[in-house]
């Protein structure tokens, strides 16, 4: 082992290509997508789907077993999560709202990936390698249950006569919920993973994820939210009234295990894996904003004089330097967290720290950038004001900054939920 910061070649190549995508397919329509909330960026979606089918990159679809690997070939260290984090950072540098409608299963598929049996993975994930771009979404949040997921009220009751689960509840803030559940000829048939309790008395131990296919009777998209930013991404409310799904659509054990809280832990495992990835998207937005600031300063002949003591720097230089420090540190924390994931090292602490940091970095950089750029920052002529609005979500979704601080604190203090609430 060693300490190294060289971007692996396959990642550098990928980034080169993705930068072109970000510039030509995202930035070019960024403003239009922002001004026309809920418009669908079909061009970008089709392109990404085709590209991902061709390369297999970013897809959670089960891969065919590789045959007869040369045993003499030296094994390369795995870099899957690192590739993904870089990809997300670059696409979010392009447009984070549009990145969120990248087909391939998103958080829904990630939940299946984390908690399903091999048979279930085959059944639910194969579609993402199909001809049409396909979406899946995760339904956790409810009107009365946000960060406190144990307050979830949705229920799943087994109907023993038909061997079906009957699911009832109200889910909100479902990213890509509409694209996953509303029929669209351009897209394949999607699904949602709904978190519901199989035994409300059991608390978290009773929580399970259920895969609900598009077209299931009783499932309705009731609302599309209007948001501060990430407007290219649909955020849906979904109502479930006696929605019936086959028995094998439950992720994890169908019976309550009071002692282990296994069901809920599986849901949380999804977050361990995805937090640094969400952090990466925030870093991408922040980088876009900082690059804009530096470009504008350079155009106007303002140089940043690296190497001076703080009390000799101008106010702008200090701000830019602080932004650069934050951005790079935030990004390196993401890279470390995903590197740990790739190398099967437990990374719950690093994951949450990277999300805490990215939430801060992304909001502070974009907010400072708008301030520094004055009228240019506030004008809708440039994208900076949009990035400021887009950025804020980083500190809210996938665990707010506060929830992640709690997770970090528990880790460093060796406390469980009962000791530090």
């Amino acid at each position: 082992m060693t300490i190294e910061f060289e971007t692996p070649k396959p990642i550098a190549q990928q980034q080169y290509v993705l930068k072109t995508v970000a510039e030509n397919m995202m930035r070019s329509v960024s403003r239009e997508m922002d001004e026309n909330e809920h418009a669908v960026p079909y061009g970008y979606i089709e392109f990404m789907h085709a590209a991902m089918r061709a390369t297999g990159a970013g897809s959670l679809a089960p891969k065919e077993e590789k045959k007869e690997e040369d045993p003499n070939k030296p094994k390369r260290p795995p870099i899957g999560y690192q590739l993904l984090a870089h990809m997300l950072e670059m696409l979010s540098w392009g447009d984070v709202g549009m990145y969120l409608v990248t087909p391939g299963g998103g958080l829904g598929a990630a939940a299946v990936q984390a908690a399903a049996t091999p048979e279930q993975k085959q059944k639910f994930l194969a579609r993402f390698g199909g001809e049409k771009p396909t979406f899946a979404a995760m339904c956790m949040t409810e009107p009365g249950a946000g960060s406190d997921t144990s307050a979830i009220k949705a229920t799943a009751v087994l109907d023993e006569k038909t061997d079906e689960w009957v699911i009832n509840g109200e889910k909100i803030f479902v990213t890509a919920g509409h694209k996953s559940m509303a029929a669209d000829e351009q897209f394949g048939k999607g699904f949602i993973v709904v978190w519901a309790s199989i035994d409300p008395k059991a608390g978290r131990a009773g929580m399970r994820g259920f895969v609900i296919e598009q077209g299931t009777p009783g499932v309705t998209v009731t609302k599309l939210e209007h948001k501060l930013g990430i407007r290219a991404s649909d955020t849906a409310a979904i109502s479930l009234v006696d929605a019936r799904v086959p028995f094998d659509h439950v992720l994890g054990s169908p019976t309550v295990e009071r002692q282990t809280e296994k069901g809920f832990k599986k849901a949380m495992a999804t977050f361990d894996a995805t937090r640094p990835l969400v952090a990466a998207t925030g870093i991408g937005v922040a980088r876009a904003a900082l690059e804009f600031v530096k470009e504008k300063l350079a155009e106007n002949g303002v140089q940043i004089r690296y190497g001076l003591p703080r009390n000799k720097l101008t106010s702008i230089e200090r701000d830019v330097i602080d932004m650069e420090i934050m951005l790079r540190a935030g990004w390196l924390m993401v890279v470390k967290a995903v590197w740990m994931a790739d190398n099967a090292k437990p990374n719950a602490l690093e994951s949450s720290m990277s999300k805490v940091k990215a939430g801060d970095v992304t909001t502070r950089i974009t907010q400072k950038a708008v301030e520094l750029m004055g009228p240019l920052g506030y004008s809708r002529e440039f994208l900076l004001e949009k990035w400021f609005r887009d950025a804020k979500i980083t500190d809210i979704y996938e665990g707010t900054g506060q929830i992640n601080r709690l997770v970090v604190a528990r880790q460093i203090l060796g406390y469980g939920g009962s000791e530090l609430r």
Binding site: M1, T2, I3, E4, F5, E6, T7, P8, P77, Q82, Y306, G307, L308, P309, R310, N311, K312, I321, D322, E324, I325, M326, R328, A329, G330, L332, M333, V335, K336, W339, M340, E350, M353, V356, K357, Q402, R405, L406, V408, A409, R410, I412, L413, Y415, E419, L420, R421
Partner: protein, 365 residues
């Protein structure tokens, strides 16, 4: 490739330094600070671990190759024990490392082995000047060419062990460029103030004002010879070292206040069970890790000759100065009244923490 694990050699060095920090430095740190002196045997023991010697090639009396990464790993571990002690142990590096980085072959052969091969000896360097607007890139101390010599004039401050130093590197402005000059103890016009300086912390590290009045050194004493040198790599090496030491001091304060918060009770619970304290600690841990990553990357860039190594080292250092202040201040806050009492170590770490913004050139590794 990305990789975040020290190699075996680095890990062994870190373990050894870490033991020295915990078993030797930390236990004497409080008294050393209060009494204003550190036992020589502790300094010697630190020196014998060979952190500096391991970064010097055999040709110059050492037993390794220079690696900024290894340097920052060791610096963090040692500063976790005590900053003043670390700076004392590493003082000879202020003389040796710039010569290694920027000296001519003759300079390396002449000056490095006598320092490296023996016991710890006070060789030092003088960069800082006593002015609020001190700037390493615009020094007030001047060097002017005069025949076969350079003539140095000016006043330096924060020069560790200057009184006993056999020789020091004096940095001065030569035609607007910061250049280093090797000045022996015996040079006429070199005057070291009798009394050590009185600083907010680092009381265990004797530092002095040094006055140069028409000090003449032969042209061959200019670092890098006739054509001189770029000050950039020397500053960059100092910045990453200081950044790593800031991480070490911050980690000391963080761990101490974390452990305290898990013991101290208020309102029927440990104060660590209160989110106000727990979130403080979570943010401290996050910032420490953030700056550690920046520091490692900057050091790695210096080792691999990356174009933006200088800039990265500067950013790591600038980030570290803020982080160290934030973390040590919060550690004092978590201890409350006890944090303010000198019997507990956190107030000293807070005084250390404020210093990093001023310490450019006071450490290099």
């Amino acid at each position: 490739m990305y990789s975040f694990e020290p190699n075996e050699e680095q890990q062994m060095l870190m373990d050894a330094v870490s033991r020295f920090a915990a078993n030797d430095l930390r236990p004497v740190a409080h008294d050393a600070e209060e009494e204003g002196k550190l036992p020589l045997k502790i300094i010697s023991k630190g020196w014998e671990m060979g952190v500096l010697q391991a970064s010097i090639p055999e040709a110059y009396g050492g037993f390794g190759e220079r690696s900024a990464v290894t340097g920052v790993l060791a610096a963090e571990e040692m500063a976790f024990g005590d900053l003043a002690g670390t700076l004392a142990v590493m003082t000879p590096s202020l003389f040796v490392t710039p010569i290694l980085l920027a000296g001519t072959e003759e300079q390396k052969q002449q000056y490095i082995p006598p320092v490296i091969e023996g016991d710890w000896q006070p060789y030092t360097a003088a960069l800082i000047e006593y002015a609020f607007d001190f700037d390493a890139l615009a020094l007030k101390t001047t060097a002017t060419a005069d025949g076969g010599d350079y003539v140095l004039n000016g006043e330096k401050a924060f020069v560790p062990y200057a009184k006993d130093a056999q020789a020091m590197i004096v940095y001065a402005s030569l035609d607007g460029q910061t250049q280093g000059f090797i000045v022996p103890k015996t040079a006429a016009g070199l005057r070291v103030q009798e009394e050590a300086e009185k600083l907010m912390s680092l009381k265990a590290l004797p530092t002095y004002r040094v006055t140069l009045e028409g000090v003449r050194v032969p042209k061959s004493n200019r670092l890098g010879g006739e054509t001189g040198h770029d000050i950039g790599p020397i500053l960059a090496a100092s910045w990453v070292t200081l950044a790593a030491m800031a991480v070490g001091v911050a980690r000391a304060a963080f761990e101490y206040s974390r452990d305290y918060a898990k013991e101290r009770e208020a309102f029927g619970v440990k104060i660590a069970q209160k989110q106000a304290i727990a979130f403080f600690l979570a943010e401290m841990a996050t910032e420490i890790e953030a700056i550690r990553m920046l520091t490692w990357e900057a050091a790695w860039k210096l080792d691999s000759g990356a174009e933006d190594g200088y800039q990265s080292a500067y950013l790591a250092y600038m980030g570290a100065t803020d982080m160290a202040m934030m973390v040590t201040d919060r550690a004092v806050q978590i201890l409350g009244g006890y944090g303010y009492i000198r019997e507990y170590p956190v107030e000293m770490w807070m005084r250390n923490g404020r210093g990093f913004a001023t310490f450019t050139g006071l450490a290099i590794g």
